[in-house]
Amino acid sequence: MSDAPVVDVTGVALRRPNALILRDVDLRVECGEALGLFGANGSGKTTLLRILATLVRPTEGAGTVLGAPIGTPHAESVRPRIGLIGHEAALYPNLTLDENLALVSSLCIRPAMTASAALAAVGLGGAGRRRAAHCSNGMRRRAEFARMLVTQPDLLLLDEAHVGLDPEASGIVQHLVGEVVARGGGAVVVSHERERVARIVARSVVLSDGRIEPAPR
């Protein structure tokens, strides 16, 4: 990893026909930094994460994610270095957890771990043969964390990853973020649970009315 910021965007805005979802967002995440992102429902947190994941092109603004300019075809080249855990699990419901993770491992350029090792690392060692559709929300979340262990992203984006997690699973989130930060990558953790997140991030900001503000102490 270079010393350039993992995320460095300025003036990011996203307009939709009937709404201005984000306006003039400036955000910087340094190498080895984890950032907490808070905000009310509908404030645009998920949209901002999708822009940082290069899945949505902003209508205005400039900057880089992992050194690639956002909103340009160049951004595609860094996608395999980005890990996103969204509200819903990205699992094929009728495949087992083992098969889902094996799929990720087969598609990943350089898998860092085997599917079964990753599942064991998140406490799902005995559940590999269970179909995703038959797993609880918490188990599906853990499987998502296992996916991150396989892909080892340099930029980790977690969208309310703490929802419905027991304390042990929350520890896994902490471990994941800690690993990315230790490798010199960056993480953005979106949550409503400020106290939990405060333990794993160095700095927090609030997205309010489409703009970024420092989080109150």
Binding site: A53, A89, N94, L107, R131
Partner: protein, 218 residues
């Protein structure tokens, strides 16, 4: 890219095989549709033998839409995002979904075809051509279904919109298939209708591959 396509085909087929909707719901419904018509028009064996192939294609079109849409819809936004971030090319995803849907449609066509033979007793002269026609129709419908699912992705009422999009675009396929089998029945040349099917498939493939990325970006 070929590696990605093969991995995705395997996963999608395994996912569908476990869901079992084609085998347990769609094929039985297709069979019921074929069964109802002889009950409605009575036991006129000559008429049934004449209209059987046409009805077979209508059932393949109508229920094939459900098969392809079901298959395409099985990959929702979280999975699509994951595949995108893993660096899977949108064209590879289009190819994988299309091939998986084509294989499912072939199974559907063979099952419904067997039922058509039993119920309608059509003239089977020259039906070796079906080894060409069935895959061409399956591939065409699969590509239309995959394209329609991409076009309607994220829209409200997509489950209603996608079949509405598919049905009109599939008319050249239905026409080509029905005319080809009618040609077999009366002993006329069918090559031009097979060519129609092949040309439609090539055009759909080009449209699918070329629009895969823009559709994803939109």
């Amino acid at each position: 890219m070929i590696h990605h396509v093969l991995v995705l085909i395997r996963s999608q087929l395994r996912n569908e095989a476990r869901a079992g909707e084609v085998a347990t719901i769609i094929i039985p419904f297709g069979a019921v549709a074929l069964l109802v018509i002889p009950l409605a028009i009575g036991i006129d064996t000559d008429l049934l033998a004449r209209i059987g192939p046409g009805l077979f294609w209508v059932v393949v079109l109508l229920f094939g839409v459900i098969v392809t849409h079901r298959q395409s819809a099985s990959v929702d936004r979280p999975q699509r995002d994951m595949l995108t971030l893993l660096g899977v090319d949108p064209a590879a995803r289009f190819a994988a979904t299309t091939i998986a849907s084509t294989l499912l449609l072939l199974v559907f066509e063979l099952a419904v075809g067997a039922i058509t033979i039993v119920l309608y007793d059509p003239d089977l002269t020259g039906w070796g051509w079906l080894a060409v026609i069935l895959p061409l129709v399956a591939a065409g419908l699969a590509m239309i279904g995959t394209l329609a699912a991409s076009l309607t992705s994220g829209l409200g009422g997509r489950s209603a919109l996608a079949p509405l999009l598919v049905a009109p675009i599939a008319i050249p396929i239905l026409l080509g298939a029905a005319q080809a089998t009618e040609g077999l029945r009366v002993g006329a040349g069918i090559l031009r209708w097979v060519l129609v099917l092949a040309v439609v498939d090539v055009l759909l493939m080009l449209a699918g591959v070329l629009t895969a990325r823009p559709l994803e970006e939109s």
